[in-house]
């Protein structure tokens, strides 16, 4: 089985085998990051555009460093300084960037489906770096990578995603990836933020935190996405922390080897207590390291091959 996709738009359309190819490839790239010389020439001469039409620092930086470590040239295109503010459409912006012969477009956009839209007319590869509340494929891949690295498997594990599911593209991509790889996924949070409709994606929904965390092998905590909520979905941050935050009392009821994950940025004292975030069960910073490896793998795979062709061994 080989990778045959030009784009990485979502996890929903990937097979379990394709997800595994990305994870295996990322493993090799992680080793590159541990060497004295952390750079390989795989994308030498390629131009990668970071087209971020929504503020982001960590994902953009991670993609930027991934491209640099693959020896690509990188352009960062931020919405703040761009023509999009002057009334240019996304399509025109992308076409203008393509006229500069860019090879890979990494796009972050507040509108779900924006990367799919670009992929329909751009000649280059498109990588989704988060589109609205739809998907954030590389985050799900790095989460799966981190789980597999620590637990040696994903199939059969109980993974609980706790927090704001409704507005979370991280949750959606994670649900697709983890269920495809055979994990049992439980969603938990305030009922306003965890609609029952998610059961149709093949996971379990519960509003009882104690029950949701008791059997979990992995706890993935999500931030409340204030910037996406149109109306108040729960009374107060304090109440959320009291009812759903991971504190010492709740942690004591989890499995002793539970893996605590968070896509960041973390809100200390809200979804997770400070000392838990810094404890040895938390792999939050490992996720950042692995994100770089997974993004190198994604850029490497989408750039590879415009079709099978016979080349010397």
């Amino acid at each position: 089985m080989t990778w045959n996709r030009k784009h990485l738009l979502d996890i929903e359309s990937l097979t379990a085998e394709e997800i595994t190819i990305v994870l295996d490839t990322a493993k090799a790239f992680k080793a590159v990051g541990e060497r004295a010389i952390k750079k390989v020439p795989a994308l030498r001469g390629k131009t990668v555009v970071n087209l971020f039409v929504e503020p982001s620092t960590r994902t953009r930086t991670s993609f930027e460093l991934a491209a640099i470590r693959l020896s690509a040239d990188v352009i960062n295109f931020n919405t703040e300084a761009s023509s999009l503010k002057k009334g240019e459409t996304l399509k025109d912006t992308a076409r203008n960037l393509e006229a500069l012969n860019a090879d890979v477009f990494i796009i972050r956009h507040s509108a779900a489906g924006a990367p799919h839209f670009l992929a329909r007319f751009l000649r280059g590869s498109v990588v989704n770096a988060g589109d609205g509340a739809h998907e954030h494929p590389t985050q799900a891949l790095l989460d799966a990578f981190t789980i597999r690295e620590w637990k040696q498997r994903i199939a059969g594990l109980n993974v609980t995603i706790l927090g704001d599911i409704l507005y979370s593209r991280v949750a959606r991509s994670n649900i697709w990836a983890l269920t495809k790889l055979g994990a049992h996924v439980t969603l938990c949070g305030p009922s306003t933020l965890v609609p029952r409709a998610f059961e149709r994606m093949g996971c379990r929904v519960t509003f009882n935190v104690e029950e949701a965390i008791a059997n979990a092998d992995v706890l993935n905590l999500l931030r409340i996405q204030h910037e996406r909520q149109r109306k108040t979905m729960f009374p107060s941050i304090g109440e959320y922390a009291a009812l759903f935050g991971l504190n010492k009392t709740r942690l004591a009821r989890t499995k002793p080897d539970v893996l605590i994950m968070h896509p960041g940025p973390i809100n200390r004292g809200v979804e997770i207590d400070s000392e838990i975030a810094d404890s040895n069960r938390s792999v939050i910073l490992e996720q950042v390291t692995n994100g770089l490896a997974v993004r190198m793998a994604a850029l490497f795979l989408v750039t590879g091959g415009k079709g099978p062709q016979e080349v010397g061994v």
Binding site: T2, A28, F29, R35, V40, G304, G312
Partner: protein, 180 residues
């Protein structure tokens, strides 16, 4: 193309054993400083061969010979033409600086894999010298690369395939030339 493909044995298990023993002796003859010599197998076919050569060399030198592996997927020059190749681990559990590195591969063809492997080695240090050992040299070089130790020279046509099967992976030691 209804022609049936033809499969010729070019190296039997016994012949492969003899060839590897000979290459190991040639490596030992060329490199009298056994402490400064390491073997690096090219993923995938070269890695098991490097381990076997190390086994024979240990018998000759009376000490273990370090073996590493290098994957060239990230250093190839044809990512555009081919699909992204599978990436295998590169393991270099020693410093190659000032060492003699014997690169080991199963088949030498265009030379592009070896060019990429030489590039990859650069990321790990500066060897004193690099030598190349291959089981089969099938010709058709596209780069100025030449093996120091050759198991067998096999004249081939460009479209033919050399299939090296090793017992570690395939359960048997045999090399075929496939004529499609």
């Amino acid at each position: 193309m209804s022609q049936k493909s033809e499969k010729i044995v070019i190296l039997t298990a016994a012949a492969m054993h003899r060839v590897l023993t000979r290459i190991a002796h040639e490596i030992a003859e060329r490199n009298d400083d056994s402490l400064a010599t390491v073997l690096v197998g090219v993923q995938r076919g070269g890695v098991d061969l490097a381990k076997r050569l190390a086994g024979v060399l240990q018998g000759i030198w009376g000490q273990p010979v370090p073996v590493g592996s290098v994957d060239v997927a990230m250093h190839r020059d044809d990512l555009d033409q081919k699909g992204a190749p599978p990436v295998h681990p590169t393991v270099m559990p020693f410093d190659i600086t000032d060492k003699t590195v014997v690169l080991v591969d199963d088949v030498l063809f265009s030379g592009r894999t070896i060019r990429a492997a030489l590039d990859a080695l650069n990321d790990f240090g500066r060897p004193q010298r690099v030598q190349l050992a291959v089981l089969i040299d099938r010709g058709h070089r596209e780069l100025p690369i030449k093996a120091d130790f050759v198991g067998k020279n096999v004249p081939t046509a460009r479209h033919e395939r050399v299939d090296v099967r090793l017992r570690e992976v395939c359960g048997e030691d045999i090399v075929y030339l496939e004529k499609p």
